[in-house]
């Protein structure tokens, strides 16, 4: 089994995050954990990278227009005095980037042909970020999520209510919804998910599988 890899630039993704989601990434206000799925899409999608850059430009415009708040009189002198001090070590970022983050996730088989792996990333207590690999013919548990769910297809293809999402595509669900995505085609499907709140499987097999995988 190869380590999960982020899809390259080809084929060009056809399903993208919404504009407001791209903007929240640029603004730095995206729910943490979800940003990991977003960055997986950005690695695969030049179009969305360009849009995020435009929204960063919007950020530049907005701080130009903002009403300034004065600093204390000593602030400039204090800052000048600190210019040569050694830089603080940056907070730990994951060495090796997203690919390493994903390959470090521990896999648990949850059903024949299906494994899940929690991704170790800062996130809200009840949110979940995980990889799910489903062999052709196997099916994911029907589940409900309490809020938003982001999915980036890394390998293979996914059929969600008749819409086919292929490697590089991004699926954004904003609302509570019960759905039952299936593998499309003859290859295994590997996806990266972030869910707001824990998933609630709606059938017994799903409950067992999700309990085993702790997702």
């Amino acid at each position: 089994m190869t380590n999960p890899q982020i899809a390259g630039e080809t084929p060009t993704p056809r399903h993208h995050p919404s504009p407001e989601t791209l903007a929240s990434f640029a603004a730095g206000t995206m729910r943490s954990g979800f940003d990991v799925v977003m960055s997986a899409h950005l690695q695969a999608c030049a179009e969305c990278r360009a849009e995020v850059a435009q929204f960063e430009q919007l950020g530049g415009h907005l701080i130009t227009e903002i009403d300034p708040v004065a600093l204390s009189e000593s602030a400039l002198a204090a800052t000048l005095a600190r210019l040569e001090e050694p830089s603080r070590p940056p907070p730990p970022r994951t060495a090796g980037g997203l690919d390493q983050l994903l390959s470090g996730a521990r896999r648990r088989w949850v059903a024949p042909g299906v494994w899940a792996a929690r991704v170790d990333t800062p996130s809200h207590h009840d949110d979940r970020v995980f990889l799910l690999r489903v062999a052709p013919g196997a099916t994911t548990a029907r589940h409900t999520h309490a809020g938003a769910e982001f999915t980036q297809v890394l390998e293979g293809a996914l059929d969600d209510d008749g819409v086919i999402y292929r490697a590089g595509d991004f699926v954004e669900l904003g609302e509570e919804r019960t759905h039952h995505p299936k593998v499309h085609g003859s290859d295994a499907c590997l996806c990266l998910f972030a869910t707001e709140g824990r998933l609630v499987p709606t059938d017994l097999i799903g409950r067992i599988a999700f309990a085993i995988a702790n997702v």
């Binding site: 504009p19 960055s39 850059a53 960063e56 950020g59 907005l62 701080i63 903002i66 983050l101 996130s123």
Partner: protein, 189 residues
């Protein structure tokens, strides 16, 4: 500061100042500080930081500006966009350091600090002027949600409370506003 150029100092181009800061010019840094630090502090206060922390963090941002000035490339981003990205990333770093329950807004682990995501667009000052034009053309209520979405922590629910709107209305208004903005920006390209 010498003081004899006081008349011109307020109008100096920030990109030019950053270029001088890159070569270790502390006078240019002081001018840049006067221009940027109060805006950065205002940005951080808007995002929920208390004034004392915002003041400290604004100074940290300015130290990052000093260190990173040699990497500034005006052909890729305007000075203000570059400064915004540094401030955004420092804020996220500080939230992470606190290791608090506040976990909004982490940058992805593989994006190099302060590297703008623009590979293939022409940004810079020209782009900023277009952005200004594009946003000015939007109806006032859409401008308002766009502004708030950059300046509120947990923006969707905060906007809903501030404007007394249902969450669904906020989400659809944001979608409409950003979709319009995006198509306006595309028209310019």
């Amino acid at each position: 500061m010498s003081g004899d150029d006081a008349a011109g100092s307020a109008k100096r181009d920030p990109a030019e100042l950053i270029r001088q800061v890159a070569s270790g010019d502390r006078v240019a840094f002081a001018e840049l500080f006067v221009l940027l630090a109060p805006r950065i502090k205002a940005y951080l206060v808007r995002l929920g930081s208390d004034p004392a922390s915002a003041e400290d963090l604004a100074q940290d941002v300015m130290i990052s500006v000093w260190r990173k000035a040699p990497q500034f490339d005006p052909s890729r981003a305007s000075a203000m966009t570059w400064a915004f990205v540094i401030a955004r990333n420092r804020r996220i770093d500080s939230l992470r350091r606190e290791d608090s329950a506040v976990t909004y807004g982490h940058v992805p682990p593989d994006v190099e600090a302060e590297t703008l995501l623009a590979d293939d667009i022409v940004a810079g000052l020209q782009g900023d002027a277009r952005m200004r034009e594009a946003i000015d053309e939007l109806p006032a209520d859409q401008q308002e949600v766009i502004r708030r979405s950059f300046f509120e922590d947990e923006p969707h629910s905060a906007i809903a409370v501030a404007l007394n709107l249902p969450l669904g209305t906020v989400k659809s208004r944001l979608r409409i506003a950003f979709t319009k903005l995006r198509s306006r920006m595309k028209d310019f390209q």
